[in-house]
């Protein structure tokens, strides 16, 4: 298999489960071989025949999108479903902290969390609509980005909570003996938490863009 075809197949089957990737690559490689043979029978030289066969394969990104839509439907629905559950859980647990306590009583916690979750989804939809319609960023794939955001919103605060629980005895000691050190320690932890959250957000917005810019466009198609 020549390197141009291998690159094309890698891009067209990128993201598919390994067994499907192998099966589809074999099928598409056979298609290329048939097109190449036909072009050579038509009297084209080897290079021209290769060019025609590659042209017949079409656009790798378009093929990848079609194959993903066909083969990753269940995976995507599962990923989006799990992510939405995680994000909802995060808002139910932490939503209260995002609004000044004066406006929230304990009984309103679930309503507040659910309301903020709805606002969050609406905001995300508007953002996606703006980016795709106004700025033409068609590469923004909501399910993947939502998944990253979900993991960021749930996993990072979880580790923060674990870390806080672990240092609680130390925290008590520091609070009584070295209050300034304790204060600084929490400031550092908050900074790490904020940096991690910003990192997830940056990853959310640039993952697909970088992937497409580097992997799908910069690699030679023929």
């Amino acid at each position: 298999m020549n390197s141009a075809l291998k690159n094309w197949l890698d891009r067209a089957t990128d993201g598919l489960p390994p067994e499907i990737q192998t099966r589809v690559s074999t099928e598409l490689a056979s298609h290329y071989e048939d097109a190449l043979t036909d072009a050579q029978r038509a009297g084209l030289a080897a290079d021209a025949a290769h060019e025609r066969a590659m042209t017949e394969l079409g656009n790798a990104a378009e093929t990848a999108n079609g194959l993903r839509r066909t083969h990753l439907r269940l995976h995507r629905h599962l990923a989006v479903g799990i992510t939405l559950c995680l994000v909802l859980a995060w808002f139910l647990i932490n939503g209260r902290d995002l609004i000044p306590n004066a406006y929230i009583s304990g009984s309103l916690r679930i309503i507040t969390g659910a309301g903020m979750f709805t606002l969050f989804l609406g905001g995300l939809w508007l953002l996606r609509d703006f980016l795709t319609r106004q700025l033409g960023l068609r590469s923004l794939q909501l399910p993947i980005n939502l998944q990253l955001l979900g993991w960021g919103l749930t996993v990072i605060p979880f580790f923060r909570a674990v870390l806080l629980a672990r240092i609680t005895p130390l925290n008590e000691l520091l609070m009584t003996e070295y209050p300034i050190v304790q204060h600084r320690l929490f400031q550092v932890m908050e900074c790490i938490n904020l940096a991690a959250m910003l990192g997830v957000l940056a990853l959310m917005f640039f993952r697909t863009y970088l992937h497409n810019a580097y992997w799908l466009k910069q690699r030679p198609s023929t």
């Binding site: 067209a12 099966r23 589809v24 074999t26 099928e27 598409l28 056979s30 298609h31 071989e33 048939d34 097109a35 036909d38 017949e56 394969l57 079409g58 656009n59 378009e62 093929t63 999108n65 079609g66 194959l67 839509r69 066909t70 083969h71």
Partner: protein
């Protein structure tokens, strides 16, 4: 020209007589339409795999001249789907033609 909505119908139609692999299907559609319909792999293979998942066609693998080929065959369910698709297409085409005829008649 590439009419995405009609691709499943064309695939099922081409597979009526005998099992074929992807390249044969694409080539036959192209030849029978006198090069008007040329489907690229971006739409052809996802459509084939979707029809397979729906049970309208089934696939088997053969080794021919050192190449592994995946042949597709129409199932009984696929034949019923094809009949329905042809009926839908005919009524759609008839409706479009009626509109075009009306426009042609008034101008």
């Amino acid at each position: 020209m590439n009419f995405k909505g009609s691709l499943p119908l064309l695939i099922l139609h081409v597979l009526q007589d005998s099992p074929k692999h992807g390249y044969q299907i694409a080539k036959e559609i192209k030849q029978q339409s006198r090069d008007v319909l040329a489907f690229r792999e971006g739409t052809l293979y996802p459509a084939l795999h979707t029809l397979e998942k729906q049970g309208a066609i089934e696939a088997h693998t053969e080794q021919v001249n050192g190449h592994i080929r995946r042949y597709y065959r129409l199932t009984e369910s696929g034949r019923a789907t094809l009949a329905q698709e042809i009926e839908s297409w005919n009524s759609y085409a008839e409706a479009v033609n009626l509109v075009l005829a009306k426009r042609g008649g008034t101008s």
